[in-house]
């Protein structure tokens, strides 16, 4: 289904998922004008938010299944399977976040239904960001997403840590936006365009001008802040730690996915000719993130903080996936994001029931012996830990395998070795969680008695864990579709990979 993006109808069709979601968020906001006082209202808003994801998903399905593509060059917004896969991932993360929030907000007494509109607005921002074909659209999407998430981070108004998280996130985020915007301006100066394809075309012949390099560097810094790559990660532990747990999960899944998918598009479409400029930078960021994230996570006592550092490490793995600039690389990025998103949703869902008051004090000691009382919860948590570790039989392994394959294909074995060695370090903090729940005795007879998932959260966690296991054991279709999808990104006519000829 070719769509002419220059006509209003074509553009509307192309943006249907985003439009549907934004409309849903607005309607929800309207409903909340009347219904905003009780726990029932909060629950109602949650279910409404869930329902308003459906039209967006249907629109996405129509575009994807219909094979929508731009008639002529796509501008402003991309129209290719890579965007559709990105939107699907964001919708899944959003749906999971809403389901996890339903019970959590009530339990923590956070009765303010606008929470769900904010989640939806953030999701629409993510969608714009991941599908942006123009740096201005990317920036707008990023801002819509960020402003909503700033508020969500500080949603627990009674907690100083939540307030700290919001303020910190806001200040650092504003800083990052400034970098990004300045980078866009310089790139415009260097190439006379903000469209990714245009920039790519103008940079393709010969040397990249200094202004362009500078712009690309600032762009990378801005995105580095958003995805919490070292050395732009300082905000992440405090913000992850202080935010309400479902919001932390949203940051680890949705925000990170949008950031990486946007970054992938920038690097692959605007700068395929400048790989020698950005590859060393991306490699340095990746190595720094993997090393620092994994080593610092080792020394964390609080589980939530440990997961914050582990998410920095995962940003490093994802940057490694981007590094080769190949089809296998963009496919690996997508696949790893899918694996990480599902696993993180389950982990934060489980974490949200293990504690009270923001789960800042959930430690290894407090989850000791969980398997005795809550065998399924313990099983799910262990599967997630193994998936994050990248252990065979889980989705996480498939993702890591794809990343390793991508860098090995690009003959960069050193980066692959860094990935596996830092993964080994990560065994030092993922395994103790498995040990604590299975091999240690509960502290007292009362422990874990309150730990039960509300039903919507059970569905999320169970589904996520089931997919993590299934995709780990039978990864063929996930791998194949990720690689097919990745084929739509990047400069046309990039060489096919050995073995992928079909």
């Amino acid at each position: 289904m070719p769509l002419d993006l220059t006509t209003p109808l074509g553009a509307t069709m192309a943006l249907l998922p985003e439009i549907a979601l934004t409309l849903g968020a607005l309607v929800l906001l309207l409903v909340n004008a009347w219904r905003n006082g009780t726990a029932r209202d909060s629950r109602l808003s949650g279910y409404l938010a869930l329902v308003s994801l459906v039209p967006s998903a249907i629109a996405l399905g129509i575009l994807w299944m219909g094979g929508a593509r731009a008639e002529g060059p796509a501008y402003m917004v991309a129209l290719d399977p890579y965007r559709f896969a990105a939107l699907a991932l964001i919708l899944v993360a959003t749906a999971g976040t809403i389901l996890l929030s339903l019970g959590y907000l009530e339990r923590e007494g956070l009765i303010a239904p606008e929470y769900y509109s904010l989640v939806l607005f953030a999701a629409s921002g993510m969608m714009f960001m991941a599908g942006a074909e123009d740096l201005i659209v990317l920036f707008l999407g990023l801002e819509i997403m960020s402003v909503s998430v700033y508020v969500l981070a500080g949603f627990n108004r009674g907690s100083v840590f939540s307030a700290e998280a919001a303020l910190k996130y806001f200040l650092v985020g504003a800083f990052a936006s400034a970098f990004l915007l300045y980078g866009i301006a310089l790139l415009w100066g260097a190439t006379g365009s903000t469209g990714l394809a245009d920039i790519g075309a103008r940079l393709s012949g010969g040397e990249v001008p200094v202004l362009g390099k500078l712009g690309l560097g600032l762009l990378l810094i801005g995105m580095g802040f958003k995805v919490a790559a070292v050395p732009f990660h300082m905000w992440a532990p405090d913000v992850y730690d202080g935010s309400p747990t479902p919001v932390t999960g949203f940051m680890a899944t949705g925000v990170k996915a949008a950031g990486f998918l946007g970054l992938a598009r920038i690097l692959y479409e605007a700068f395929p000719a400048a790989t020698e400029v950005w590859q060393p930078v991306v490699a340095a960021l990746a190595v720094a993130s993997m090393v620092l994230g994994n080593f610092v996570a080792l020394s964390q006592r609080s589980l939530k903080r440990m997961l914050a550092y582990s998410s920095i490490a995962h940003a490093g793995y994802l940057l490694t996936a981007l590094w080769p600039g190949s089809r296998l690389g963009s496919g690996a990025t997508l696949l790893y994001l899918a694996a990480y998103t599902l696993t993180s949703l389950a982990v934060f869902g489980i974490l949200s029931v293990l504690g009270r008051g923001g789960e800042r004090d959930v430690t290894l000691d407090s989850i000791a012996g969980l398997a005795r009382r809550r065998p399924w919860l313990a099983f799910a948590l262990s599967v997630c830990m193994l998936s994050l570790l990248g252990f065979p039989g889980t989705f996480g392994f498939v993702g890591k395998w794809a990343i390793l394959a991508a860098v090995v294909e690009a003959k960069q074995v050193v980066l692959a070795v860094v990935v596996v060695l830092t993964s080994l370090v990560s065994a030092g903090y993922y395994l103790p969680v498995v040990m604590a729940v299975y091999m240690r005795e509960p502290a007292g007879s009362e422990s874990h008695s309150g730990a039960g998932l509300p039903r919507p959260a059970v569905i999320t966690v169970a589904l996520a864990v089931a997919i993590v296991l299934l995709a780990g054991i039978l990864p063929a279709s996930a791998l194949a579709s990720a690689m097919d999808t990745a084929g739509s990104l990047g400069p046309a006519g990039s060489a096919p990979i050995v073995g992928f000829r079909r």
Binding site: A405, L421, L424, M435, P475, V498
Partner: protein
């Protein structure tokens, strides 16, 4: 027998059934009542053994190549398939595994009283994992089994182990993973290098084996990564430090499986992957000398450290380091006798050390101590136990007529022509083995019965006799009439040597006369 097996299509389904059956068995163990868990597990493992016994006749080992091969696309776009096959070497390893497993279930019968279902689920999963490693003929599949096998062992040590089990479990896990992750990168690099040259991305064993020479300058690194993974598993000195911890902390069945089967995965990996893939590197003087040095250090050091252990289980654990050194020596000498000897040591060590761990476990269940000094004069109180213990200890020492002798003798015989110095020093390991085991035997079984607590010990129960019976039979059979086993492993050993000699020639070793007349 062969005709009967062919008539039921045995060779078509057996390998898949062996891999799937334990996993199917997990379901009734999990869903059934707790009291039935051990019975179900016993039933499944016995069936598994009976089925696998058919392989003895069904596998035609004469060509020395992989038999009963079958393959099914798993991740076709990446050239990954579920592919299995078996040759003489893996045949013996599979049979050793399936023999030890029901005995382990029986040996855990009364010892495991907590979370029984989980325990037997882990044993069954481990069985699939180990068999998968021996049977896989696709490197991706091999890697998956190699890693997945870690989880059940990690839980067996960590949940049902001794006092220091958490430390031992994580050490075991991290050590093994350190090696295997680098191996993962090596597998990928190898596959991609081969794909770049041949145009086909495939992880099939034979495909990579025939084309592994294209990696060129990368070969030493890839060999290093493979070798490290296997050396940690064997364990080759100085990567052995996880072993005493894991063996001592694991419950009896865990130790039996660790020593009996899991260590062999390392030497099997050398025989199947590391050396045949990169024969030039493996045969280069630098690598050869390093491996010989480490093997000999392992033999002597393991034996010496075993001698001074006050704890019986630790003694047996260190004796493994020593025995596996012989295997490494035999693999690197690469003569027909030395390879056959290495495989015989692998089998023989599995039986003897497995039996020793069972016996130590039986003592521990009675007295709750493993201190050698707490025993003495047991021969008067528990004559049957003492007899069995003596026979097993002598087999481990290498007394002619028992299994230990055949393997070590062949290794020394085959290696002496190639590496006389290393072999000469290794021979002292046999003497030290006699020293530490006979000394331990003397202090436990003989000497004076001077501890009151030992006077009321009960002799082996019927169940324990059933555990020891098959092991003793195996020990005697291997010692008295090893020809059928040797006949089955010899073609594979010859083929292994041919892959090595092809490119380089192995230090001028000429035609070997086979030890078993064909």
């Amino acid at each position: 027998m062969t005709q009967f097996l062919a008539s039921i299509g045995f060779d078509r389904w057996i390998l898949h059934v062996l891999l799937v059956l334990p996993l199917v068995g997990v379901i009734p163990v999990l869903l059934g009542p707790v009291a039935m868990a051990r019975r179900t597990a016993l039933f499944v493992t016995v069936v598994e053994f009976v089925l696998s016994a058919g392989l003895w006749w069904a596998v035609n080992t004469t060509p020395g190549t992989l038999q009963l091969t079958s393959s099914m696309a798993w991740i076709p776009a990446w050239g990954i398939s579920y592919a299995v096959g078996i040759d003489g070497i893996s045949l013996t390893m599979v049979l050793l595994t399936t023999l030890l497993m029901p005995l382990c279930v029986l040996g855990s019968w009364n010892y495991i009283t907590e979370r029984e279902r989980g325990y037997y689920v882990m044993l069954l999963t481990l069985l699939t994992g180990v068999l998968g490693v021996f049977l896989a003929t696709d490197l991706f599949l091999f890697y998956v089994f190699w890693e997945v096998m870690l989880i059940p062992m990690y839980f067996i040590i960590g949940m049902w182990g001794g006092k220091n089990r958490l430390y031992a479990a994580i050490k075991f896990f991290v050590f093994t993973m350190a090696g295997s992750l680098l191996m993962l990168v090596a597998i990928l690099a190898l596959a991609w290098a081969v794909a770049g040259r041949t145009g086909t991305l495939s992880f099939a064993y034979e495909h990579l084996l025939t084309n592994s020479h294209v990696v060129g300058g990368l070969a030493p690194w890839l060999f290093g990564a493979f070798a490290l993974a296997f050396a940690i598993k064997v364990p080759v000195f100085p990567f052995h430090t996880w072993l005493p911890d894991a063996h001592v902390e694991a419950p009896t069945a865990g130790s039996v499986l660790l020593a009996g089967v899991l260590l062999k995965l390392g030497t099997y990996g050398f025989l199947r992957y590391a050396v045949p893939f990169f024969p030039e590197v493996a045969a280069s003087p630098w690598v050869t000398n390093l491996v010989l040095l480490l093997a000999v250090i392992g033999i002597v050091y393991g034996a010496l450290v075993a001698m001074v252990q006050p704890d019986i289980k630790k003694l047996v654990a260190y004796s493994s380091v020593s025995h596996l050194g012989f295997v490494m020596l035999g693999i690197w000498a690469a003569t027909v006798q030395s390879i056959e000897g290495a495989i015989m040591v692998m089998i023989g060590h599995g039986l003897s050390t497995g039996a020793l761990f069972f016996l130590v476990g039986m003592l521990y269940e009675r007295r709750h101590t493993r201190d050698i000094s707490a025993y003495g004069g047991l021969a008067k109180v528990v004559p049957v136990f003492s007899l069995v213990f003596t026979v097993v200890a002598l087999s481990s020492v290498g007394l002619p007529g028992l299994n230990g002798f055949i393997g070590e003798f062949l290794v020394l015989l085959g290696s002496f022509r190639v590496h006389p110095w290393a072999t000469g020093i290794a021979t002292t390991g046999v003497i030290f083995a006699a020293a530490y085991l006979l000394w331990a035997l003397q202090r436990i079984i003989y000497n004076k019965l001077d501890k009151r607590e030992n006077e009321s010990l009960t002799d082996l129960s019927a169940r324990e006799l059933v555990v020891m019976g098959p092991l003793l039979l195996g020990i005697l059979w291997m010692g008295l009439y090893p020809a059928p086993i040797l006949r089955r492993i010899e073609p594979a050993a010859v083929r292994y040597i041919e892959t090595l000699r092809g490119p380089l020639g192995f230090q001028g070793v000429s035609q070997q006369t086979p030890v078993v007349p064909r």
